[in-house]
Symmetry: C2
Subunit: 459 residues, 2 copies
Amino acid sequence: MSLPAAISGRLRTILGSRLSETAADRDHHAQSEAFHRSPPPDAVAWPETAEEVAAILSACNDARLPVVAWGTGTSLEGHALPVRGGISLDLSRMDKVLEIRPEDMQASVQPGVTREALNLELRATGLFFPVDPGANASLGGMAATRASGTTAVRYGTMRDNVLGLQVVLADGRIIRTGTRAAKSSAGFDLTALFVGSEGTLGVITELTLRLHGQPEEVAAAVCAFDSLDQAVECVSATIQSGIPMARIEFVDADSARAFNLHSGSSLPEKPHLMIEFHGSPGAVREDAARFGDIAAEFGAQGFDWATTAEDRARLWRMRHGAYHACLALRPGASGLITDVCVPMSHLPAAVHAAAQDIAAEGLVGPILGHVGDGNFHSLLLVDPGNADEIAAAKRVALRMAERALAVGGTISGEHGVGIGKRGLMAAQHGEGWQLMGQIKAALDPHDILNPGKLVPDRN
Amino acid sequence: MSLPAAISGRLRTILGSRLSETAADRDHHAQSEAFHRSPPPDAVAWPETAEEVAAILSACNDARLPVVAWGTGTSLEGHALPVRGGISLDLSRMDKVLEIRPEDMQASVQPGVTREALNLELRATGLFFPVDPGANASLGGMAATRASGTTAVRYGTMRDNVLGLQVVLADGRIIRTGTRAAKSSAGFDLTALFVGSEGTLGVITELTLRLHGQPEEVAAAVCAFDSLDQAVECVSATIQSGIPMARIEFVDADSARAFNLHSGSSLPEKPHLMIEFHGSPGAVREDAARFGDIAAEFGAQGFDWATTAEDRARLWRMRHGAYHACLALRPGASGLITDVCVPMSHLPAAVHAAAQDIAAEGLVGPILGHVGDGNFHSLLLVDPGNADEIAAAKRVALRMAERALAVGGTISGEHGVGIGKRGLMAAQHGEGWQLMGQIKAALDPHDILNPGKLVPDRN
């Protein structure tokens, strides 16, 4: 599809050369890191201000043309893929850290700022932004998908760390949600409504973020277990004990093998936990000792404490590289990565059942996750040309989600809905999914914002 | 007004004797603890199940009759007052703790369970529900008003501690929001939308709550300061230092005087901080020592550590009794209590300006608050027969809110909007307030749920 002349002229007036209809630009915005693909957008727009975003949305609303916001393209469920064409709204030029207010532990940023760029700017302040999904995603994209990651067990997800937003609505209105106060009891929580709405309700053009003090003391370690069950039961016991973990990550034996091949580590090919404590020196010492006692009960072995900042950076770089490390286990494979989250007491059984199911289907699928939240992933490695393997992987992913729902969990702890999980939304939410559709229809009557995603199709 | 015959018969069929049109029952539901009053409802209903609530809402939706949910009547801004008549839906009979899941640190409760009743049930589990607004409010009401209180600085508000809800919509549909997982990235955050919606979007009929482990060690203390500014600047410095406070409460000299008269304490008539630390023994010791160092810089004096559980209970009973203690400072007075929340760096100036303003208007108005969140209240004591005093108190409250907005704060940190703050919603939210109205119209097209509150009037 190409843009109709009327809208093309109107957008060209707003954007000049920052509107592209070249095949290269369009194709770049039709793929993301994971398995999903879509037709290309009709054009790609690079706005630089909220007012430009408003003008674009207003024009597209008049023309009934879809608009799909784009951050860094690192989402794993195809959120930003323009399944119905239209404009890919690339926010990468809105990449300014607008203000850091150390005294209030807050920052105001544009949506294209990445989490690493923000933390680089924060280095001198003694503060940091903790939400860490692994990829160097844009903060706007992280808010739109309610991202979390390794540190959510301590610092929360984007839900907990976005205090306010500037949002452009489908009709071009610009609103502000939230405040700079730590809490508010004045009206609907519009901030929470937009966080996780995956671009279907509005386009985020500014974020007010909560920052945290860099911990006085940090301790991190990795340890091995003889069985997956022992490792995961150790997590469950640790969380129930109330020890304040900053990170507690599970990786299975396949993942350990992948790290060894990819990162030059020499972990035993067994399930591992990677843990981190933040706090005052005394508290970290106490927490680490208490964790050591619990882990010993579950047969933990080979505790390797990362004592320097460099060692810790190496440890978490390894964990963050898991996606690419696991992909390299099977050269040429595509990764069908799936993500569920369950109540803590159901975590051991859920991980165990997933592992058995993967083996029974004859697949390679490392399991790893942010298990302190009850959140885990399987990275199912499939030959992209093998329809049987792809079908088997999809069966595994579906059964993981169904088992999560059966115990009161969720079809996605952090990767979101996008293309991959939309078929499960009715099963999770029942009539509540229809309610999401009603809200979407009220805010975006012409269904221009990321249509075909998250909510039910219009009748 | 009395109920039209058609709806009266339909409701009587659902409720039998649990529908009352007596003047006593109606009048009881036309007043709350604070200043606000309203006409009585046409009738009071006491449903016992979600299905009964659904049948009532369906009948009232057909008849276009307002329905206003009622918890314990302890709100301070008149949220539950039926300003347009209709049915007062008293949820006090839905008071069952449905399930406690210690292994997941969760409880499922009906909306009429009070926070004290829940904590009583939890005693043997080693867990507790931390949100503590002072009053023994119902958990449904606390969710509906996004309540917080003394412990929010550590454990968050209702926003952070409600994992899921069962909600009856205006048309009688029953939905479930949220999951039992610690986090979810699957769709709009409907839980957050209903929390704080003050009964305008649906009626909460069940809550899934996050519980917390009782801290291994607790330390609490009270200390005095020579000036309000020193006390509040000490709070600001403490929070910025990152010391994990479980509670940090400010009370001014008038409040201290009120406590002495009401609770038999013998505090110096000076500004005070009341503080509490939760954690492991070592962490609590370190935190208390670090706080002591900071407080000393601001001239703190007379540290009185509450070393036993009884001493701590007495300390916090005194703080929780502040409302009635302050009212007793001026026998016969009504309390116009107002509540704002500001970014931490603006807290000292905001409290200082409020105190000056109260003095300049010639009023008695103790200031106290959950200052670790930047949240403070003034309890303006007025002669209910003196129009000039009431007008002066309203001016003070308005200026507190305006100054909060001017620094990026909120017109209410925790007391909510109700009747008292609706006139300020446009100033706080701008076009966002219209958006709230659009959402309300989509979910409640006939405006039967707590009409005349929170959102703009329909055109």
